[in-house]
């Protein structure tokens, strides 16, 4: 019996050693200190991002209060400006669906689900009957609902202002607008308070390699965001990658008509900065996916995997920069530029979702839906 085991043991060793491919093995056998990576993420990137975002959202709330009190061009302009500032800052956070953000049954569901269902908003405005906590209202609140209320509720600015002043449902519009911003502000405070009180230490100290350890979850959130929030929602879905025809009305900030590109670029920067461990407030970099991959000597096709990933992010950025500032316009005029940008983003997915997670010895906890 023991001999048989020894034989099996030997075979296993042969298999194990003959199966080496060009990517280094990670996980249980590596000595990389994951807690340093988590610390850098929490202290230099995630928490500062929230600390940047929360006051901007509060400023937006203040300007909405002024607009609701005195609806005119000046208060509308101020609100719009602060909306864009906060919306840009949000792009840094959407991927952090962990801790309180996850426990709220997805904080981002209340912040950035688009396209909005205009009928839900309008019905809510006219009847006063709506529940922003209900899942059916995820697509009737957050930044996209503000986008509609501040830019799309009427064809021109005078019309928009009248919706909040002289319209029969003016009070309904005001209430809805206030409820949306209050919901966003309230949830954001909960998430940031959690990070700055108890969750930061939990996050940093959970440095093992199990399905529920911080890095395992964070890597999954990161890749999921890259695939879904950035690649699919911002570019792929409106470009028609997942449908028979392009859907130009599904771009982010559709009613604003000017900033879908700017928001996408901000999101891509956020992804790349997290990958490289770059401080939110500065240019310093710390322990990160990149340094972890380099520590593991992860190579592919004769190159460092981290370089391949960064190069691919850069290529995607170049493609996106070449697009019209309004993706709707780009899709209508030449959609192949949009799909080129999508393709450039997609090329990094395999690096992240296959090669990087393999190196980290982390399992991907979600699967793409397939047709058949």
């Amino acid at each position: 019996m023991l001999k048989k085991i020894a034989l099996f043991f030997g075979l296993a060793l042969i298999v194990a050693c003959s199966s080496s491919d060009d990517s280094s093995k990670g996980g249980a056998t590596d000595n990389f200190d994951r807690s340093t990576l988590l610390t850098n993420l929490a202290d230099n990137i995630i928490i500062p991002s929230y600390q940047d975002f929360a006051p901007k959202l509060t400023t937006l709330k203040g300007s909405i209060e002024s607009f609701v009190a005195t609806p005119n061009q000046s208060t509308l302009d101020a609100t719009r400006k602060n909306w864009l500032t906060a919306y840009s800052a949000w792009q840094r956070l959407e991927m952090y669906n962990i801790g309180k953000a996850e426990a709220l049954n997805q904080y981002y569901y209340y912040m950035n689900i688009y396209p909005v269902t205009v009928a839900d908003i309008e019905t809510g405005v006219s009847t006063g009957s709506y529940d922003l906590n209900a899942p059916s209202y995820h697509d009737a609140q957050g930044f996209p609902a503000l986008d509609y209320l501040l830019y799309g509720v009427a064809t021109d600015d005078a019309g928009i202002i009248s919706k909040f002043s002289t319209d029969a449902n003016a009070q309904g519009y005001k209430d809805y607008l206030m409820d949306v911003i209050n919901q966003m502000d309230n949830l954001t405070q909960q998430v940031i308070t959690d990070w700055t009180t108890i969750y930061r230490d939990q996050f940093v100290n959970s440095s093992q390699n199990t399905a529920t350890s911080s890095l395992n979850k964070f890597v999954n959130d990161f890749i999921f965001y890259y695939e879904k929030g950035l690649r699919a929602n911002k570019i792929g879905i409106p470009a028609g990658v997942f449908s028979t025809t392009p859907l130009p009305d599904k771009v982010e900030a559709y009613y604003n008509q000017e900033v879908s590109k700017a928001l996408s670029l901000e999101a891509l920067d956020a992804v790349q900065d997290v990958f490289n461990g770059k401080s939110f407030n500065g240019t310093a970099t710390g322990p990160s996916f990149k340094t972890y991959l380099d520590y593991l000597n992860t190579n592919k096709e004769g190159q460092k995997l981290s370089s391949l990933i960064n190069n691919q992010f850069d290529l995607a950025r170049t493609e996106i920069e070449g697009l019209n500032s309004n993706f709707s316009t780009q899709i209508t005029s030449d959609n192949s530029k949009m799909t080129d940008a999508y393709d450039a983003l997609q090329r990094a997915v395999v690096y992240l979702k296959v090669d990087m997670v393999q190196a980290f010895n982390i399992s991907v906890d979600y699967v793409d839906a397939d047709g058949d």
Binding site: A16, D21, G26, T244, N335, T339, Y342, N361, D368, G371
Partner: protein, 400 residues
Amino acid sequence: MRKILLGIAITSALFTSCSSDDDVNNPINEVEAPLTYKFTRDGNSTVDFNGQTTRIQMAMELRSALKDNTKSAAELQAMFAHLEGESDFSDTNLNASGKNVRSKVAASKDYFAANTTVSNEIKGLMDSWIEQQATTVFANWDVTATAGTAGQLQQAGGGTMRYVDAKGLELDQAVAKTLIGGLMIDQMLNHYLSTSVLDEASNIENNNNGVVDQGKFYTTMEHKWDEGYGYLYGNEVDPSVPVLGADSFLNTYLKQVDSDPDFAGTAAEVYDALKLGRAAIVAKNYEVRDAQVAIIRENISIVPAVRAVHYLQGGKIGMAAEDHAKAFHALSEALGFINSLQFTRQPNTDTPYFTHAEVTAFMDALMDGNGFWDVAPEVLDSMSEAIASKFGFTVEEAAN
């Protein structure tokens, strides 16, 4: 006993630590070649590819409709890009289906996940062929075709009537033969038989542990393999024992290639490899599985190549005999098969035998000027030679 357990524990620890790639398998898992493509778990069949059967049948109806001059462009397009519940087909089951053909054209994970721009070009070309079939060919149904004018042409000796566009191309043939590569071959070779799909997420772990899909009797990996199988045999009366000739697409053209003595045995190699590979999944032996994938890729890829050369040569003979209808029919098939070559797969690589740019250049050469009306025999020969030599057969072997 403790020692034994410890030994096993260490062994498996080594396994996990050193082999996190897809080579994880146990060399003692011998795979037995099954007689037919029948697989069960606890007495229940684990084989299912109804989605593939549906798409093949949709493609069959589309192919027939492309020769029905009462159809409008919109009706034809609706058959290609069917929406659930629309009455696009004669078969009510197809109408009820949420599947369609177009969404799976040039849609494999390996080739097109990051090439949606090219995928859209390929689909767009098919869209325009389908539309023009109605707007130019159907419109000139009773007109005799000449260079620059669409219409009908009859084969010599009171033969079959052919309906061509202004360049002599039978658009329905271009569509049908492109589907062999764009739908069947691409989905089979570059999607369902790819490690990127077979081994996605926790597929290996689940297959190793016999974890079946919710409400199903199969593991995800088994099912993916079966879906690949379904694109070839999905329209057979008994797909577990295929007889071939069961559709107008890959299934039938595999039979045609196999019936050429120079390529006899191709069909059996494919069937045997699909059976053995599936059995290997059941046995959790992924090395044997992947060896079968290489065999399948090689033998399926040769199908459009042999037929392309065969029809290019057929076209040359028809042109020499001044039988335009016969020549154009052959060249139309050739053009579709050439377009299909971009979906082939060189075994153990991530690349086709001919790229999108290369097949586009071939098609452009055939369609240059007045298209088939003035294509030179030298062009047909050099194209035949290029294709045959790339695949390692001779023009003569394919032509007869």
